[in-house]
Structure formats: structure tokens, C-alpha cells
Symmetry: C2
Subunit: 304 residues, 2 copies
């Protein structure tokens, strides 16, 4: 059980994530349009949602993967921020009344509540645009790498293989019973695709070889599933305070979740088993993978 | 008055636009996700809006500019389609109830009326993603050109210098009196930016030199303004049948338009004067510019 014997001390991934967050926030601050520049309302809405206290898990994963394969953090930062912009755009649009109708996220009013629907739609639209623009303009990377990253990110964000497809299938599934298989397909698209893109983009910037890219893709696919299972479990078990959003909302919306389909105990068991798969995928990588193991451990044991 | 003596016969730009439309539609058909592939509702919505009978003016301008500077049509087609996807995404989102609340476009129900708001939001989101993906994956262009095109398109689509900024300022202006200067700023961002990007992208693919790129940018900036003035005039003077949407809507929404601010006669005069500027910008280009003159003529005299 190498995944357990080599597990890092709990403080290690937390320290890494915390350092990532500081650097990512500073880079986002630099990349995003200023609030005092018109259109002020949209720029304020963009910053309201981007700087809402997110954990920066996806960009941190990009930094961790890039670092594992030898890329310097400063070279990875713009792409990591682009990924976080795509993630934030999807949250803003998913929260809209015609979608998931969420009024609270990370303990604060969602974008369309704090501003208005039109502004929230435009803020999300602009964030997607700025994400691709950030990579296209990133002079720290070769044009070859930039088009690879844009292609990865677009595939993970769009349809039929990405986030938009997952959100569409999720909305469609709300009105009927969903099988465990359909549930995993929804989450593969809605959540795992962007997590996989994060890991692959880090590896691509660091010019990892084909075998390494395959291994990191498997790692991230398991990690994405683990992330979703623990997310669903937290919706059942956490308090509103620790979660920053209304818990129990999935159940009330009769959303397809792991605890709803399998029960809480079996969902917890599934999380531990997926965590083992996640770490096992790293065994073929002949690089120091403590950071990536630490992130998997962090996701398994997270409280928010 | 070289712009008048060298004006093409009216049939020439029409034939070119018609041929462009056929080739662009075939390429869009190839690039967009299939309706029978899940999520079917979103894919149907994408195709509903993309194949709604648009004139393909922006992608045709990209083809015309590229052709003027010597690029083959087949090399220009994917970027031209990416541009049309960005345009269509903006129409879908602008039509939403919280934005311009339009139920009819090109004589058919708008996307959120035909489907639903969530589907329309996702269809627009996905179209933006596929646009950037199309350019990033375009193996007919070097990676250097691809990142240039993505950067151009993103700047024209986003904020503070593009379409999202224009739409935000337009919404903000609805509740108050707007000066002629503010009106031109809104249209520069909301309409002209993407028209300028179309012309510049064609020139970039064809590797036009710096002076040519400057001239074509000036041409397209005037053309964008001309397009908006004739668009506003058509809203006042055209019938619902020729327009494919409800005319007079701008006036009822108390939108800032050229006829509203200057009156119909003065707006028509302004259109003719801007048309002269548009053609004058071509005089420094030592290439056959009949096609680009023809397009300006077409925009000045269009009936829909």
C-alpha cells in the first residue's frame, strides 16, 4: 500500500495549497480588468466572483503537476489563472436562476444576486474570453504549447466532452431517476474534465513525455471522481458555516449524488477506494510525486 | 471620388457573399457538434441559432480580406467560422430576457424561446468555447498565426475593448439619455470590434504587412460604424418581413440609435459620409480592393 506508507504529513499539502493561493491571487489581480475601468459593473462582478475566497484547487493542481515535471512556478502561473477563470465563469453561469438557482456561494451572495442577471451572464462570458486570451498572449510559452493548452482547456470546458455537456446532462437528469453510470458520466464531464485539463496543462508546459502524460491523466481522472464524491458527501454532512453554501441543497433539488444513490457509508467507502486508485496511478512516474499524493490526501479528508 | 467611380456592379458583392455563405455553412456543418450526440438539446440549440439564416457578413469579410492579400479560401475558412460562432454566441446571450429580451430573430423564435433559458446560456457558452478550439486546432495555420488570431478574436469579444464591454455599456445606457459620443463608443465595442477583428484576421492569415494591416483596420473601423448606422436606419424604415425581426423595437426600448439622436435624414447623410471614409481607407493598399469596396457598397445599400 505505497499510497499509505508514503502519504505526506497533513500540513504539507495545506502549506503548498496556501502558497499557491497567494501566488495565483496575485497573478489574477494582475490579469483581470480593473474595477475603475468601464464597464465598471461587469468588471466589479468579475472580481466579486473570482476573489470570493475559492480554494484555487484546480490551478494549484496545475502548478503541482508542472512542478512535478520540472517547470518553474512563474511559467505555469498564467495558464493556472486561465483555468481558474474558466472554473469561475462556469460557477457564475451555473448559479443563475434558470440553471441551479443558487443564491449563496462560499458564504456570499452569488454574482446575479449581488449584481443582476445580465451582469452575471456578461461577467461569465468575459471570464471565458479572458481565459483564452491569457494563454494566447502568454509570451513565457512557445506558440506550440499555447495552442495545445487552449485546445485542452476548450475541450474540457465545452461540449461534447467537457463542462457544458456535463451541466446540460445534469439539468436534464434533475427531472428523472439517474443510474450510477449516468451519474459518473455527468461528473466526468462537469467536474473531472477540468481537473484532468489542469493536470495535463501543467504536464504539457513542463514537456512531460507521452507515458508521463498518460499516467497523470489517469491520476487526474481518479482525482476528479474523488473530488466529486467528497463534494457530494460534504453537502450531506457539513454545516453551512464550514461549507459556505446551503448544505442539503442537492437532496432537496433531488439531484443525483453519490450519497443519494449509494448511501453515505458506501459513498465514503467508494471515496477511499478511488483515493487508492488515484495514488496508484502515480507509481509509473519516476519523479518525486509527494505533492500529487498530498493533494489526493487533502481531497479525501477535506472538510469544505 | 475614386470610391464611386470604381464601385463594382451591385451583383458582384452579392455573388461573392452568396458564395461565401455556401462555403461557410458547409464548414460550420463540419465543425459543430452533431444533434444526435448528447447533450442533444444543447447541440440542437447551437445549430438552431447558427443555421438561422444569417448573412455571414463577418466571416465573408474575413474571407474577402484574406483573399485581397492572397490567402486561399480553404485556409481562411476555419477562422471565418470561429468568428461567426463568437457572433452567434453573442446574439444568443443578448436575446435573453435579462438582456435585450428578444423573442424573434431572422424571422424565427430566438434560442431561449425555442428551447429554454438554461439551454440558450449553455449553447452560447459552448459556441464561444468551440470558436477558440477551432482556431487552436487549425492545422492549416502555424501556431504563431493561431495565437495571433485567438488574441485578436478574444480582445474583440471580451472586455474592456470588445463586445461584452459594448453590451454592458448599452444596457447601462438604456435608463438614461446618451450623447452621440457615447453612442459611437458603444457601437465601436459592440459591433465594430468584431468587424475589425474579421478584417484583421483575414489579413493576418494572409501575412499582410504592417502598413496594410493598419489600412485594413481603418477600413474595417469605418465599415463597422457604417454597418451600425444602416442597422439602426433599417430598424426604423424596414418592414418586419424584410428584417426578420420586429422593427421599431429600438425606439420602443428607448435605445440610443443614430436616427433617434440625429434624425433619419441626418443619419442617412452620415452613412454616406462614413461610406466615403471606408473606401478612402483602401487607397493606400496596392492590391485589387474591388471586393472590399463592394462589401462597403453592399452595407450602405442593404435592405435587411
Amino acid at each position: 500500500m505505497s499510497s499509505e506508507t508514503s502519504a505526506p504529513r497533513p500540513s504539507q499539502p495545506l502549506a503548498f495549497l496556501s502558497e499557491c493561493r497567494t501566488r495565483i491571487d496575485a497573478e489574477l489581480e494582475r490579469l483581470l480588468p480593473q474595477e475603475n475601468e468601464p464597464p465598471r459593473r461587469v468588471h466589479s462582478a468579475i472580481r466579486w466572483s473570482v476573489f470570493a475566497g475559492g480554494k484555487r484547487f484546480r490551478p494549484a493542481l496545475l502548478l503541482a503537476t508542472g512542478k512535478t515535471f520540472g517547470a518553474p512556478t512563474e511559467v505555469l502561473l498564467p495558464s493556472a489563472c486561465a483555468l481558474e477563470m474558466v472554473h469561475t465563469y462556469s460557477l457564475i453561469h451555473d448559479d443563475l436562476p434558470s440553471m441551479d438557482n443558487d443564491e449563496l456561494r462560499r458564504g456570499r451572495p452569488t454574482c446575479h444576486i449581488q449584481f443582476d442577471q445580465a451582469t452575471a451572464i456578461l461577467a461569465g462570458d468575459a471570464l471565458q474570453t479572458i481565459a483564452f486570451q491569457t494563454i494566447a498572449n502568454d509570451s513565457g510559452l512557445t506558440p506550440e504549447i499555447r495552442v495545445l493548452l487552449i485546445s485542452e482547456l476548450a475541450s474540457a470546458a465545452g461540449t461534447p466532452k467537457g463542462m457544458v455537456a456535463g451541466q446540460a446532462l445534469d439539468l436534464e437528469a434533475e427531472s428523472r431517476a439517474v443510474s450510477g453510470e449516468e451519474l459518473e458520466q455527468i461528473h466526468r464531464l462537469k467536474t473531472a474534465a477540468l481537473i484532468i485539463a489542469a493536470a495535463r496543462c501543467g504536464a504539457l508546459v513542463a514537456r512531460a513525455n507521452e507515458a508521463e502524460l498518460r499516467a497523470i491523466t489517469t491520476y487526474a481522472a481518479h482525482l476528479g471522481l474523488l473530488f466529486q464524491i467528497t463534494d457530494d458527501l460534504l453537502d450531506v454532512t457539513a454545516t453551512a458555516e464550514s461549507l459556505g453554501k446551503t448544505p442539503g441543497k442537492d437532496a432537496r433539488a433531488r439531484k443525483a449524488t453519490y450519497p443519494a444513490i449509494y448511501g453515505i457509508a458506501a459513498a465514503g467507502e467508494r471515496a477511499r477506494s478511488v483515493h487508492t486508485d488515484t495514488c496508484a496511478a502515480l507509481e509509473s512516474i519516476f519523479r518525486p510525486t509527494e505533492l500529487l499524493r498530498g493533494i489526493a490526501e487533502f481531497i479525501l479528508t477535506r472538510q469544505s
